[in-house]
């Protein structure tokens, strides 16, 4: 499998989530403003700057650095902007895979895959259902191949 990217709607999903967080924070800060106007104003300004940076710079950069691909039998996931992580998942180590979709993701036609391994969980966010099916099928086939090779040896 070649290096692939999540759905282009990822950036939109992240921007919508950032906006919802902004609304929630604005609500809380609005309540706090009555008691601490200056501190609330400073925090609000900082949050607005962070929000603008997030939607203009962070989300596109995060999308740019998110990739996934199969190397041999292993699924490799690269993600992260400030802290770049690369994780190789072997099919034998994956206990099962959860397909997650929140309301925003369902509306935009994307989903996330959570790979449950012993002791940890790795998530690949905002991929199309078709890519999700391809990954699951490829991992399933890899698992069967590894099992049959073991039986032969």
């Amino acid at each position: 499998m070649e290096k692939q990217k999540p759905s282009k709607n990822s950036i939109l999903v992240w921007r919508i989530r950032a906006t919802l967080i902004l609304f929630g924070t604005a609500f809380i800060l609005g309540a706090l403003f009555v008691f601490f106007p200056i501190i609330s104003s400073i925090i609000a300004t900082l949050i607005i700057i962070a929000y603008i940076l997030a939607i203009t710079i962070y989300c596109p950069k995060l999308y740019k650095h998110t990739n996934f691909y199969l190397v041999g039998n292993n699924l490799t996931i690269e993600q992260g902007f400030f802290v770049r992580r690369k994780c190789m998942l072997s099919p034998e180590r994956i206990q099962y895979i959860i397909t997650l979709s929140g309301p925003i993701q369902r509306h935009l036609g994307v989903c996330s895959l959570s790979f449950m391994t012993a002791g940890s969980t790795q998530t690949l966010q905002n991929i199309t259902p078709e890519d999700a099916l391809k990954i699951k099928t490829a991992l399933d086939l890899s698992k069967k191949e590894v099992r049959s090779e073991r039986k032969k040896s």
Partner: protein
């Protein structure tokens, strides 16, 4: 193969969800009681709001019930759940480590039982799959799983052992053995003492206190005894009719009256054997054995026991018959004599502090007599704590044999030995705090392959010796 349709859980699942939200449903009741409406309009208004609130809680439970569906597929169980965030996944049968079936009295009335499935993945506190089904269906799943397998060993705990274990494991048991007679006697002594003071002084308050001290001490004793009795009954009902069996490749553990629990674990998923005893059990030369596998510890109070309050012969037979682990030491490292004080330091300091406070308060009565009595009484459990730590010092160790590594250390008021096959050890860690770095001693921690946290710690071992033993263990892990 015919495509199966998605099924909902047994309706009891919704009732169980509502039981979990019982506190939320109590809120409108409390609100009604506190509000005290004055006229008919207020009564109707408040009841209407309460009714809407209750309907809301019930609706949420109904939505959660309706959005959870499952079906059996070729290689496992497929599950869909979630309202806002929808989750879909298939748990393959080959990855299932433990299946637990819970049946309580209320579920039995509705012919329901809860089946829990665990894999090495998932969360430390939550199950991978947890579903309510018809009781007959859970029986069918178990029968199918065990089809054709033979039972090779059965261990059944006798009633006397059950009662003994319940008594020994109940927390207020300590109160019964040590505190209750002490409280009664202390109250009597203080009462007499205070009575003699009363005759000499004109302090009316002291007189009242001196009249009250003995009944107060008796009340504490009664509370402790009642607490112990309740804890003991609870333990008894949890472990009554206990049996553990080896059925083919499965270990089957059945226990409980009222709340019946059946657990089926694959033998190769058993990561460790635990052998534990409290000080009171050690005095009676009894020990309990349990297994540690995926899914262990998720039920409150669950110890996954395979033998209860057993003597050495019974325990050895049960371990050999059920798990087959070798528990003999080829090589063993214990704490040195110089580390004795490290083991008893914390309880000794606590006891010293309380003793100093009591001594001071005899001459400078700053506290009420009841608090003073409570302080005095706390010396007894502290003494028990010190005694336990002394016992732990003489029995803690790390070691290994051909197939397993052993780690024996204390945890709270139990001495627990973990016998772990090499293939289940993730790694062994040697840790030194600042003091240990100077003194040349260390703590040894062991991690199982699917756990993020250390499973057990053995403390205060000499660093050089510990490093050598750990090196030998790691060599055997790698081979």
């Amino acid at each position: 193969m015919k495509e199966r349709s998605l099924k909902k859980q047994h309706p009891f699942a919704m009732l169980s969800k509502l039981t979990g939200s019982a506190l939320l449903l109590l809120l409108p009741v409390i609100q009604q009681l506190l509000y005290r409406p004055q006229n008919a309009i207020e009564i109707i208004g408040s009841m209407g709001i309460s009714a809407l609130y209750a309907i809301g809680v019930i609706t949420v439970a109904l939505i959660f019930y309706n959005t959870c569906r499952y079906k059996r597929v070729a290689n496992g169980i497929y599950l869909e759940r979630g309202v806002l965030i929808k989750r879909k996944y298939t748990v393959p049968f080959e990855n299932v480590s433990t299946i637990t079936v819970d049946r309580n009295i209320f579920a039995a009335i509705f012919n329901a039982a809860k089946i829990n499935i665990d894999t090495p993945a998932g969360f430390s506190k939550k199950r991978d799959i947890s579903l309510y089904m018809r009781r007959s269906k859970t029986r069918f799943i178990i029968i199918k799983m065990l089809d054709g397998l033979k039972t090779s060993y059965i261990y059944m705990a006798g009633n006397f052992r059950m009662v003994l274990m319940s008594a020994l494991w109940s927390n207020p048991m300590t109160g019964l053995l040590l505190l209750a007679p002490l409280i009664e006697k202390t109250g009597n002594i203080l009462g007499k003492e205070f009575n003699s003071i009363v005759i000499k002084s004109v302090d009316f308050r002291t007189n009242l206190v001196s009249v009250g001290i003995t009944p107060a001490a008796a009340t504490i004793a009664n509370i402790l005894v009642l607490g112990w009795a309740v804890a003991m009954l609870f333990q008894f009902f949890r472990y009554a009719r206990f049996s553990s069996k080896r059925i083919g490749d499965y270990i089957a553990i059945t226990r409980g009256i009222g709340v019946k629990n059946e657990r089926y674990t694959k033998i190769h998923e058993v990561s460790a054997l635990t052998i534990s005893r409290t000080l009171s059990m050690a005095m009676l030369k009894l020990r309990s054995a349990g297994i540690f596998a995926v899914g262990s510890g998720k039920d409150k109070g669950d110890k996954s026991l395979i033998a209860i309050a057993a003597n050495d012969r019974e325990l050895a037979s049960a371990i050999k018959g059920i798990v087959g682990f070798d528990t003999h030491y080829k090589r063993r490292l214990r704490p040195e004599k110089s580390r004795f004080f490290s083991y008893i330091m914390v309880p000794l300091i606590a006891m010293g502090t309380v003793f100093a406070a009591v001594s001071l308060l005899i001459f400078v009565p700053l506290l009420d007599d009841l608090y003073f009595t409570a302080l005095l009484i706390s010396l007894a459990p502290l003494a028990w704590w010190i005694a336990f730590r002394i016992y732990a010092f003489y029995n803690s160790s790390i070691g290994y044999n051909k197939s397993c590594a052993m780690f024996c250390g204390y945890r709270k008021l139990s001495l627990v030995e973990y016998v772990i096959p090499y293939q289940h050890i993730q790694f062994v860690e040697i840790r030194q705090n600042l003091f240990q770095q100077h003194s040349g001693f260390c703590n040894v921690r062991v991690y199982l392959y699917y756990e993020q946290k250390a499973i057990h710690t053995v403390k205060h071992l000499r660093l050089a010796d510990a490093e050598e033993i750990v090196k030998q263990i790691e060599k055997r892990i790698g081979s």
